[in-house]
Amino acid sequence: MISDARALPDATVIQADFCLVGAGAAGISLALALSRSGCKVLLLESGGEKEEPATQALYEGHVVNPALHSPADSYRQRRFGGTTTIWGGRCVPYDPLDFEARSYVPHSGWPIGYDEIARYYPQANRLCEAGVFDYHSETAFDRPLKPMIPGFDQRHFTTDTMERFSCPTDFHVRYHDKLSGPTIQVLLHANLTRIVLSEDGNRVTGLEARTLAGNGFSVRASCFVLCTGGLETVRLLLANRDVHAQGIGNQHDVVGRYYMCHIAGTMGGVRFSIPPASIWNGYDMADEGVYCRRRLALRPEVQEREQVGSFVARLHHPRITDPRHGNGILSALYCAKPFIAYEYAKRLFEEDPASLKNWAKHLQNVALGVPDIMGFAWHMLRDRKLAARKFPSVVIKSRAGLYSVDFHAEQMPDPTSRVGLAQEKDPLGMPRISIDWRYMQQDVHTVQRSLALLKQDIAQSGVGSFEYDPQSVEKEMVRYGAYGGHHIGTVRMGASPRTSVTNSDCRVHGVANLYLAGSGVFPTSSQANPTLTIVALSLRLADHLHSRDFSGT
């Protein structure tokens, strides 16, 4: 059942077995899994069925360094479906190494191993509509694939692992029918304003929520799960200080710390000496119709030997802003910049304004590239705009064998990179967040060393050359700042409340019936985009909650 909290009489009390807060990838996956037991599941969602500016504005906050981090209300959606309403759909599982304590990655090590998550990946893949759970090109395809770079010596990198792409599935639209079932109640426009704790602070007795229309209600349930993302969860825990003066789960000042995104950027130029037509930087479509893409992934044993985080690279089109690429399609995209959504424009372009000379050169590229642009426009219309499963991104094949390197790397957990509360309050009286995202020299080292190895491998393989300025690595890797809207680590799981917020079951230390779902609980970020693992971890949490008896709480 899906209903609107604005229609509830003031001071209504709602009873449920499980109360979940936040209807995004985590909350919806969890609700679907919990509902199968016949338990009554209440799913509170702040937003409505569509984006609403007043609700979205509740996400606004303060960013300490706007050059390093996007505005607090970008890259996340406060509406039914959460950020799955705008995500790109890239699905990648974490690697076994990501779960291990690594001496060269400070504060690394999950309290659970890869196998604990791996059991849930196939079902998570299914919910994300990313096809069969097989992320190795050698086994996922029955047919032989064209090599990514023929003759490339995969000594440090492998081209076998790949990404799969969701439709991208908007969880609100996709699971709307299932969420309308009798055992789930989705309550829209319901903003959590207070987590009510018992006097001893050891359990949650209820929640209080309000709508922007002004009415309020409360919830009584046996168990509560915050599925509100890595930023909002911090706000909710820190803002509730009436029993725990430091905020819930924050006795040791851990909530909001270790904030990670991903380190990403586009570097240098690869000039291949092998025939340009032999290089494959595009997508392969699996039999089930899912777009897959191989990449250059730094091998786990190399990460350990070189003492760097995980790192992947893709062959990317030359830098769009520089018209010397001579490509009409890229210049046309540059000219279309005002029409491209912020989240994608930030990735495609740079902040530096183009000179008049460059504008003229872009326009010349467009004029000379009309046939290519028309073909590209038709492809994007047919395969992206009108297609139910969308072509994931812009892929330009270089006729000259020229590419840049697009990388995506792990960010190291750092307690000084943190999310806290600002002085300012939102219209519901909740303090806004303050984001102080930081990176470490180890992050720079990961990228520098990985790029150097890639340069070496390309050269030694005799397939071409990779030229870049090693001095500009740090500048390039922070050009996008905290990348991807991947809000990781702020309420990390671990064995001790001194260094973590939840235990290995995602339960807040010291609170018997309060759980957290989402990438906030990940202790490390991997190179992988988080959504698939968010869903897998939510399914694991559902199994755990099924096995627990909350009658004593």
Partner: protein
């Protein structure tokens, strides 16, 4: 001594497959009841009008068992069932009657034989419910409620689907294909009939017939498409499905009616009706444990069966 069995509707897909299976049984002597001799199956056949009680009474008098698998339009189904019940009064043969999972109508969740008969999804379903209620007055009956019968050449759930998959008009339907495909292989259906004939304890009983752990329709379509080689499977959105059911289907239906009046037979592509789309969304799972327990059924493996079905459908 062999049991004599008359199969009404033996010219249809299930009837033909059933005749083949019955003919392999040493203790059964089957006869095909067909409307036109052109539908004769190569086995001993009787040409009869199953809606004519008088003719039917004359023909069935020598049979121990009558299997009713007439599955045409609702009026014919009703008339032939009434005729059969009247004709059977004199000698009281065992009647094995083919009903359908359609009797459960729009029900959702796990559905066993005790579930209410809603029949609220169209004329076919309501006719099946009405006939079952009439059959209830006849003691020597076994009622079978198969799900979606697939197998090599199955018009509704194999050949039609294969055509649509090859044309990329079906595929991964997203939420529109989340319903449960209560598939049952035609060989399992035939095995159920044979078991019902042989087991006197089954008289008066009703059985659901569908495989264990059925896939969703999306899974069925993707697996079948892979077996057919109709890959990559296309993702089909709600907009395309609306066009199929609201524009293409009515046009093809009208075309079918017009072409049906011509002296020559012209086949049009299959269409996706609103009723079919409704079924593909329906979260209903037939519970067939009773058939396993009392008829001793073991369901064909779907993946292996699809390979065989695909080979049949791909045969030039």
């Amino acid at each position: 001594m062999k049991r004599t069995v008359l199969v009404l509707g033996a010219g249809g897909y299930v009837g033909r497959k059933l005749m083949g299976a019955l003919a392999c049984c040493e203790d059964i002597q089957p006869t095909a009841g067909v409307r036109r001799m052109s539908s004769a199956t190569g086995y001993e056949s009787l040409c009869l009008d199953a809606t004519d009680a008088g003719a039917l009474e004359k023909h069935i008098s020598g049979f121990d068992v009558v299997v009713n698998c007439i599955g045409s339009d609702p009026t014919v189904m009703r008339d032939s069932a009434q005729a059969l019940l009247r004709a059977a009064q004199a000698r009281e043969p065992l009647i094995v009657h083919f009903s359908s999972m359609a009797v459960y109508g729009s029900s959702c969740g796990l559905v066993d034989e005790q579930a209410a008969l809603r029949g609220d999804i169209g004329a076919y379903a309501s006719a099946k419910v009405e006939i079952e209620r009439q059959m209830a007055s006849y003691a020597r009956r076994v009622i079978l409620r198969p799900g979606c019968i697939y197998g090599p050449g199955s018009p509704a759930w194999s050949s039609r689907i294969a055509q649509l998959l090859k044309a990329r008009r079906l595929g991964d339907l997203g939420a529109a294909g989340d319903g449960i495909a209560n598939l049952v292989h035609v060989d399992d259906v035939a095995a159920a009939v044979i078991a019902a004939i042989r087991a006197p304890t089954c008289e008066g009983e009703t059985f659901n017939l569908a495989m264990n752990n059925p896939p969703t329709w999306n899974d069925y379509f993707i697996s079948f498409a892979k077996a057919l080689g109709a890959v990559p499977v296309r993702r089909i959105g709600e907009r395309a499905l609306k066009i199929e059911s609201r524009v293409v289907a009515p046009a093809l239906k009208i075309g079918e009616m017009i072409l049906g009046k011509l002296p020559v037979s012209v086949a049009l592509p299959p269409f996706i009706s609103p009723g079919l789309l409704g079924l593909l969304r329906q979260d209903i799972t037939l519970v067939s444990e009773k058939a396993e327990r009392e008829l001793g059924l073991r369901w064909q493996n779907l993946e292996e069966s699809l390979r065989v079905v695909a080979a049949f459908e791909n045969w030039p």
